[in-house]
């Protein structure tokens, strides 16, 4: 598999230098066609910001201060706005977290699904709407031709997220970024939406970057995983390897806190002590050190870089042990 997207040493800051806040620090990952990469982390770990930066949608105050985002051999960061716009929705598309607000309440579903087709292929409304109907059919919306004329409030949360998927797939993008696509949905609908997303990306041989905080989702759908903590990747491996052989103390803590069938229902769930650090005020050295049960004096010397542990691309960022 050839690499489609390679993010290298990416650092993102909000605010003006020199008192900017680095929310993402030296993040490196890659994803190939047909592959699903999950980026896991808790709120504020920088995973959504990383995703938005790929499309150049950081918004006010946010900027890429270091690193590169190579997509199909081109550094997206160096392209001008018009060139990036031709890529957005056409070669890279994004699915957002909140299906309730990511559709425009004032436009019909049909117009919104047809929009990327109109923008990127310049076909007539009639053709675009016909394609939109086919897209809705592909994401299992019943009676799609009729539903084109409906407004978002007439759709349930799960159906809206399918509509978002239809919009994302409209131009058969090579890369789809899904930013917590199922967080707002209930569990049964979650499975439907993720299965659909997985099936359709496989059909198109697209790459999928799945951002989530749900380790169960990761185990089921991802090929590769990158675990983020306080703006940096602390561990990355294939999904199988990560579950079988987690290395970083943070990953270990996360795994230990998953409630399993064998856990005594009366016992308390294991949790990682403390709370995630303020990215504006990171501790010296390893940001996880204050909460780490294996921490020692050496941990506060510097922020540990990723290093290989074992084979198969398993990397982690911890000096603590071997």
């Amino acid at each position: 598999m050839s690499t489609l997207l390679r993010v290298e040493d990416l650092s993102i800051a909000f605010g003006e230098a020199p008192d900017d806040v680095r929310v993402v620090e030296s993040v490196t990952f890659d994803v190939a066609r047909g592959e699903t990469l999950a980026i896991v982390g808790e709120s504020g770990s920088g995973k959504s910001v990383t995703a938005l930066s790929i499309l150049g949608l950081l918004g006010h105050g946010g900027s890429i201060v270091d690193g590169s985002i190579c997509f199909g051999g081109v550094d997206l960061h160096t392209l001008d706005e018009a060139a990036v716009r031709r890529i957005r929705g056409n070669e890279i598309s994004m699915i957002f977290q909140e299906p309730m607000t990511s559709l425009n309440p004032a436009l019909t579903i049909g117009k919104q699904v047809a929009e990327p087709i109109r923008i990127h292929r310049g076909v007539s409304w009639k053709e675009a709407l016909e394609e939109a109907a086919q897209l809705l059919e592909r994401v299992s919306i019943p009676d799609p031709r009729q539903r084109l004329k409906d407004y978002p409030h007439q759709f349930s949360g799960g159906m809206r997220q399918r509509v978002m998927i239809a919009m994302a797939l409209a131009c058969s993008p090579a890369l789809i970024i899904a930013d917590e696509p199922t967080t707002a949905l209930d569990v049964t609908v979650q499975a439907q939406v993720l299965n659909l997303l997985k099936t359709l990306t496989r059909e198109m041989n697209s790459a999928l970057v799945l951002i989530t905080h749900d380790l169960g989702v990761v185990a089921q759908y991802a090929d590769k995983v990158a675990v983020m903590y306080a703006g940096g990747i602390v561990e990355t491996a294939t999904a199988q390897e990560l579950y079988r052989n987690p290395k970083h103390p943070y990953t270990l803590g996360l795994m230990a806190s998953i409630p399993g069938a064998s856990v005594n229902p009366r016992s308390r769930l294991k949790a990682i002590d403390g709370s995630p650090p303020d990215v504006a005020n990171l501790p010296d050295g390893c940001p996880f050190a204050p909460r780490c049960q294996f921490a020692h004096e050496g941990c506060t010397a510097f922020r540990p870089p990723l290093r290989a542990v074992g084979g198969g691309g398993h990397m982690m960022a911890c000096v603590g042990y071997d």
């Binding site: 425009n104 004032a106 929009e115 019943p142």
Partner: protein, 254 residues
């Protein structure tokens, strides 16, 4: 769990929403029942519009027809609103004046709204430095007293409907851009704006198709409140002799 078109019939296509009272009559009945105050206001407004539109047919006298023997008369059956100092029928002039006042008000308001939306949408959507520059300009603009500015410009250019429309339109339009900007700021933060960016839409497209439809309620209110404000200012100007030139009848010039 697998997803296929046969297993995911999540929503049954229901029967089309039945309209209990189809047609205009039904709509009116519904309106009176649900929004009685709105219905009364609408009725009053429609009566005014009716008299304004058909002023030429309804006016019992010509608007500039003088009758020097019946000057400054009180209301009577032959002159419903009485007569003025040169014996013109005030009722006829009120009817005709409605035309002038309303046309000036609606056109001015429409122009002001277009200006407000253009400035407000651009400032609100782009934000940042551009917004700051525009807002300082609006601040400066709003420190001018309306009436003084109007009097200055009209004394240079002379009175007339066009001058009033352009000056009042700019005055209210630039001031009103604040309201539109506020609405745009809140709509812009919705995920669908970002979603539109993520499918490659340009800023003009996003403002036109995603932001404007969602600030329409605000824009409509801005437009309608401007209408009444313009009628008042135009009446004031005409009263001062700076509005629509005599002898054309306007509500202020009587």
């Amino acid at each position: 769990m697998t997803v296929s078109p046969t297993t995911t019939n999540l929503v049954q296509p229901g029967p089309p929403r039945a309209a209990p009272n189809a047609g205009l009559a039904g709509f009116l009945r519904e309106l009176v029942r649900r929004k009685p105050l709105g219905a009364i206001g609408g009725a009053v407004f429609l009566i005014f519009v009716f008299f304004g539109v058909f002023a030429d047919l309804l006016a019992p006298y010509g608007i500039n027809e003088t009758n020097l023997r019946a000057r400054l008369e009180g209301p009577s059956l032959s002159h419903l609103f009485g007569t003025d100092h040169i014996g013109r029928d005030v009722f006829s002039r009120v009817l005709k004046g409605a035309q002038v006042s309303m046309i000036v008000a609606v056109v001015t308001s429409a122009f002001a709204t277009v200006v407000s939306v253009a400035i407000g949408a651009i400032a609100g959507y782009f934000g940042g430095r551009l917004d700051s520059v525009i807002q300082r300009f609006v601040d400066a603009w709003m420190t001018f007293p309306d009436l003084v500015l109007l009097i200055v410009v009209i004394s240079v250019l002379g009175p007339g409907a066009t001058q009033i429309i352009v000056i009042l339109g700019l005055l209210y339009g630039i001031g009103g851009s604040r309201i539109v900007r506020g609405a745009v700021l809140s709509v812009r933060e919705n995920t669908y704006t970002r979603a539109a960016q993520s499918i490659g839409a340009g800023w003009g497209h996003i403002i036109w198709r995603h932001i404007l439809p969602n600030i329409a309620p605000v824009v409509i209110v801005v437009f309608t409140t401007r209408i009444s404000a313009v009628i008042l200012v135009e009446a004031g100007l005409s009263f001062l002799g700076l509005g629509i030139a005599a002898p054309a009848p306007t509500w202020g010039g009587m």
